[in-house]
Symmetry: C2
Subunit: 219 residues, 2 copies
Amino acid sequence: MHTRTLNGVAVEPVGSRQERKQRTRQALLDAALRAEESLASLSLREVTREVGIVPTAFYRHFASMDELGVVLVEESMRTLRAMLREARRSPGGDAIRGSVAILVNQVDAYAPHFRFLLRERHGGVEPVRRAIHGEMRLLGSELATDLGRYPGMTRWSADDLRMAADLMVGGMLSIVTALLDVGDHPDDRAEVVSVAERQLRLIVLGMSRWTSPRNGVST
Amino acid sequence: MHTRTLNGVAVEPVGSRQERKQRTRQALLDAALRAEESLASLSLREVTREVGIVPTAFYRHFASMDELGVVLVEESMRTLRAMLREARRSPGGDAIRGSVAILVNQVDAYAPHFRFLLRERHGGVEPVRRAIHGEMRLLGSELATDLGRYPGMTRWSADDLRMAADLMVGGMLSIVTALLDVGDHPDDRAEVVSVAERQLRLIVLGMSRWTSPRNGVST
DNA sequence: TCCGTCGGTGAACATGCGTACACTGAAAAG
DNA sequence: CTTTTCAGTGTACGCATGTTCACCGACGGA
């Protein structure tokens, strides 16, 4: 086999054949994820160059960049879902502070995934956008049924639960945006965290006082 | 002068020289705005082709696509600002319902502008992203000082005002997102409007009960 | 041991790109 | 009426791209 190089460093060919295939496939995904530009302006050749394979070898793993993008959406969504799952079974103490802390840690650990999702959510290529849109709706649904099990919200209508869930997802996304945009300076980060906690607190406060003004959709 | 064509239709050369220059400049901006792809993957040649001029003529108006992008940010932000200004001096009736109605109308009228802002906010080219980021911060500041003049919020700290303003801007953006993503079916649109109104109502409810848990930033 | 599978190679192609350059001809300035 | 300005033209260039195709040779099952 031709010994491959990645950034000039030799990559020794160890493992079974499908293990190695899996590894280059993952390397392609990682390279595309790491890129600053959107998928639409990221060339197949750039990605393969980064990984250290010849352009045509790309097709051994994906039929197109769009297909790679959709896989990347699934991968990124998995970390988002993991984050919510972790937040769900949070300690009994300050739930808000805990949730924000989890969010900060997760964004630190998986910044490229979050950046990718925000980047491709609008304006990327169509199949990727569709995939993100669908996953986001699913996420909202899950959170809604989960909220319905909370002690104080058992009497909420399904519609209101969905409304509140979407509000929380939206708030979460704007917090992620703030975290990604802010620099590394600790004071700035602390400020973002403080704002996020108070915003969540305000929303929860509103939820605690909520009575549905009218049932159903105004037609 | 060489008679130009746009989509095969002749464009008669009327007006003074600078009037005509201004018109093609605007045509370039419009063409870039109308494009589905992000600016990063939109080629100079595509834009000029759309407008009906030769590629090199682009440089008579902008030094680069990035420069055009920044101008487009200013143009789009002007409509966003106009929307908020209109919402500010809303009728005394149902402020929330009125604000959402204004938002819906504005998004209908200027969908490309909003789409552009959401698209380029993340993942576009760097100068454009910076421009949007800066304008968004400014918008938050304006809304914060404006909120401070509201009867019930005169005692809020500057920090809390900013927090609430950012929450509202974020909520507004997610409503715009929902409006742009939803199809033309009236029922779907009505559902989005209903959700938006209830979300804003929930936030306002939270604000009405708000007492700052602690003054200043937790360091 | 033999042989099929298959991840990766390398040359070749048509196409689209950004930009340099010299140009034209109508509008504006004198 | 002459001169200057300047938005738009047309050619030409080097370069990067996606995709095709035939090829290679190590791995893995028989």
